[in-house]
């Protein structure tokens, strides 16, 4: 049986995009020198021209943040800082629809996700951290802890505004000021956030946003006025940041790559597990560092699980991200699409068996059909490297011990999933897994109160909760 759905596009009228954007420095938009285009990856239509920040722009932004830190932000009480964050949280709620549509246009992810997940979590993050601002004695780094000063923050394109919230909210609550560089391909919601800061009358220079690509980020990391770096992105860039700050007094939190194992035991509730597998790998087109990209399924139920998974995948709707019925939107960029294609090709070349549902891809834009590989071994590149796309590698296991061995056999350690109806087995598995976030009988859940971050090469530190906030504070010596 096929379900036909009439198109149900969300209106773009709620969004107003300028032809050109500058940087947001010291409370004002400053005209850029050179520009690059940001496009809608679902249509390849140019949305706006974005300023390409250089060392000079970074320098101005860091100076503004330093002045704001010394003269204004560090002199405010925690309670007053918190009230600004509450204001921001409320304005974000008021303008949620506008942010959701803009995020979907600039990123390519479905409106269903930006509307129901990204943007609500963004305001939740500001609301949560607002309440911490006057309670820093209880964060766990000693009494009257100190802020670092100016924090340089670099965020990725997969959850543009959510990553901004994860970075900016705790930094400000702890009393730091911020220079933020959004991802090259998804700067628009960060620039709209700058307007929210203006509406909230946040003191000038407390949040500065400089747009650009890798060089702009490097200039921020290397600026001597920056005391702390917070980065979310690839493990490769994370390592280069660790090297860049090695001989300085700078500290860093790094949220990097992952190759999450999603383990389905024979005693799992199969239908729920299948939903969890789909959510684990096809949420946000698989552009998720904590995606469940390796399915480890117990051998005796593998055929049944894969059959049900395929049947479920045939019902996934791929297409216009602004359509409210869309499950999978556009791949964020041409470069990312090429990377996914290259890794998927290696999966076939190395002997994996590829399967995708019949799925018509739109003519314009960047698209990749939801895909699973069976017959994958641990040596295959698609079982080892982060694909960051809607591609699932399926491996099997016979005993719980074998599942743990395989799940932990990776340099990453960000996330893992467990599916079993047996409580003691779930807790045993959770203990054995070397990963920072473990979802049991669920997957890809996020909350500002819940620390997020990885073991091993998935990064340094946590974001969210008391643990995440502590990284923005230092003990008084």
């Amino acid at each position: 049986m096929t379900f036909e759905y009439a198109p149900a596009p969300e209106s773009k009228s709620v969004v107003k995009i300028e032809k050109e954007y500058g940087h947001f420095i010291n409370g004002k938009f400053v005209k850029g020198k050179k520009h690059f285009a940001t496009i809608n990856p679902a249509t390849e239509e140019v949305l706006s021209q974005i300023a390409n920040g250089d060392k000079g722009d970074i320098d101005k932004a860091v100076q503004a943040a330093q002045v704001a830190y010394t003269k204004v932000w560090s002199k405010l009480s925690g309670a007053e800082r918190g009230k600004y964050l509450y204001r921001i949280a409320r304005i974000l709620q008021e303008r949620a629809r506008e942010f959701a549509v803009l995020e979907t246009m600039d990123n390519g992810k479905p409106i269903r996700e930006t509307r129901d997940i990204d943007i609500p979590l963004v305001s939740a993050h500001f609301f949560y951290h607002a309440g911490w601002a006057d309670k820093l004695d209880y964060v766990g780094v000693g009494s009257s802890p100190k802020a670092h000063g100016v924090v340089g923050q670099i965020i990725p394109w997969n959850f543009p505004l959510l990553m901004l919230a994860w970075k900016v909210a705790p930094a400000l609550a702890a009393g730091n000021t911020v220079v933020l560089k959004p991802a090259e391909t998804t700067p628009l919601t960060a620039l709209l956030f700058a307007q929210v800061c203006q509406q909230a009358e946040l003191p000038a220079g407390v949040v500065n946003i400089v747009t650009g690509a890798g060089e702009t980020g490097a200039a921020l990391v290397n600026h001597p006025g920056v005391s702390k770096i917070a980065f979310t992105g690839s493990t490769e860039v994370g390592k280069s940041i660790a090297r860049a700050i090695a001989d300085t007094k700078k500290v860093a939190t790094l949220e990097l790559g992952g190759k999450g194992a999603n383990i389905v035991f024979e005693d799992a509730a199969i239908d729920q597990a299948v939903e969890g597998i789909v959510n684990g790998i096809f949420f946000n087109q698989g552009h998720v560092c904590c995606a469940g990209s390796r399915l480890l399924v117990q051998e005796n139920i593998a055929d049944e699980v894969i059959k049900k998974l395929q049947r479920r995948m045939e019902k996934i709707r791929l297409g216009d991200p602004l359509d409210k019925n869309t499950d999978i939107g556009a791949i964020n960029s041409k470069a990312q699409l090429e990377k996914i294609k290259e890794l998927a090709a290696s999966g076939s070349a190395e002997g994996g068996e590829v399967w995708s549902p019949a799925c018509e891809l739109p003519k314009n834009g960047f698209w990749f059909a939801p895909t699973i590989f069976t017959g994958v071994t641990q040596a295959h590149r698609i079982a080892r490297e982060e694909i960051f796309g809607p591609v699932l590698s399926v491996l099997t296991f016979r005993t719980p011990q074998e599942a743990i061995e395989k799940a932990n056999n990776t340099p990453f350690g960000l996330s893992a999933g467990i599916w079993s109806e047996k409580g003691s087995k779930v807790l045993w598995t959770a203990q054995q897994l070397r990963a920072g976030v473990i979802w049991a009988n669920t997957f890809n859940k996020f909350d500002p109160a819940s620390p997020f971050g990885g073991y091993k090469e998935s990064g340094w530190g946590r974001e969210g909760g008391r643990h995440g906030l502590a990284a923005y504070l230092k003990a008084v010596k």
Partner: protein, 270 residues
């Protein structure tokens, strides 16, 4: 004619055994007046790699043992050390180490009491907005390399901070620290500390620290005893080791620095 003393050969402590350095090298330790004390082993890169293999092998059992058991074993170290106070006093005096052995023993007792309180200190249940039970708990990081400042008290503090949570370690005891450190290895060997949990290498910091920093099966390094840390941090970035150094002794932050926070979500429903 007075009796001739039976002197000790100083070797390394790897995987619960006392091997010589595979390199065959030694160095001379003398007292303040220049009189010969011993020829400790000058550990090599190969010794360090063997130690990491031993530490990795011991990690599962040590981190998987109950906190109560780890506390008792660490307390047992203090008991064994107490019984050899006079020997350590003499060794510390001869090597010019200002550490009071009683202070070192009491420090070990302090750490013994931490093992089953770390989750209370740094664990938390998180009130997430949804039908989930969500908790965060600290757990051991893995294999941690240590270069402490060269006094016995600093050596004990950094070592206990690392193993209390369930990590296993390769620790460097440079120069004259080799003398009390290797006697301490004998204490460990009789304290029910499983083989491989603590591996002690004597020798040179300049030679061993870079290998600790670059070894791909070490998860974190405490380089409190290293002055120029830049190059080590660059090397450590290759597998994103957690790199820390500390100013305060007897600080639970030293334990938590080498633990990972694990967050578990489970659905709530009927």
């Amino acid at each position: 004619m007075s009796r001739i003393d039976v002197k000790k050969t100083y070797k390394l402590y790897i995987n619960g055994a006392f091997p010589r350095s595979e390199s065959g090298r030694v160095y001379e330790v003398t007292n303040a007046k220049g009189a010969f004390i011993a020829n400790p082993a000058l550990a090599s890169r190969k010794d360090l790699r063997d130690s990491v293999v031993a530490a990795r092998g011991a990690f599962g059992k040590w981190s998987g043992s109950t906190a109560y058991l780890r506390g008792q074993i660490i307390y047992r170290i203090a008991e064994m050390l107490e019984g050899r106070r006079e020997q350590f006093e003499a060794e510390l005096k001869s090597t010019g180490d200002k550490t009071k052995i009683t202070e070192a023993i009491d420090l070990i007792v302090w750490y013994a009491g931490w093992t089953d309180k770390l989750a209370a200190l740094d664990g938390v249940t998180n009130p997430v907005s949804g039908p989930f039970y969500n908790f965060t708990t600290p757990e051991a990081m893995g294999v941690v390399g240590v270069v402490s400042k060269p006094t016995f008290l600093e050596f004990i503090d950094s070592l206990m901070a690392v193993i209390a949570s369930g990590n296993t370690t390769v620790i460097v005891a440079p120069g004259a620290l080799a003398i009390p450190a290797m006697s301490f290895a004998e204490v460990l060997a009789t304290s029910d500390v499983p083989a491989g949990v603590i591996n002690i290498l004597t020798g040179k910091v300049d030679e061993l620290a870079p290998w600790l920093a670059s070894h791909m099966d070490i998860d974190g390094i405490d380089i409190t005893g290293v002055k120029k840390q830049g190059e080590l941090k660059v090397a450590a970035a290759e597998n994103l080791k957690r790199v820390h150094s500390f100013t305060k002794l007897k600080n639970p932050a030293r334990i938590l620095a080498f633990m990972e926070a694990k967050t578990v979500w489970h659905t709530v429903g009927i």
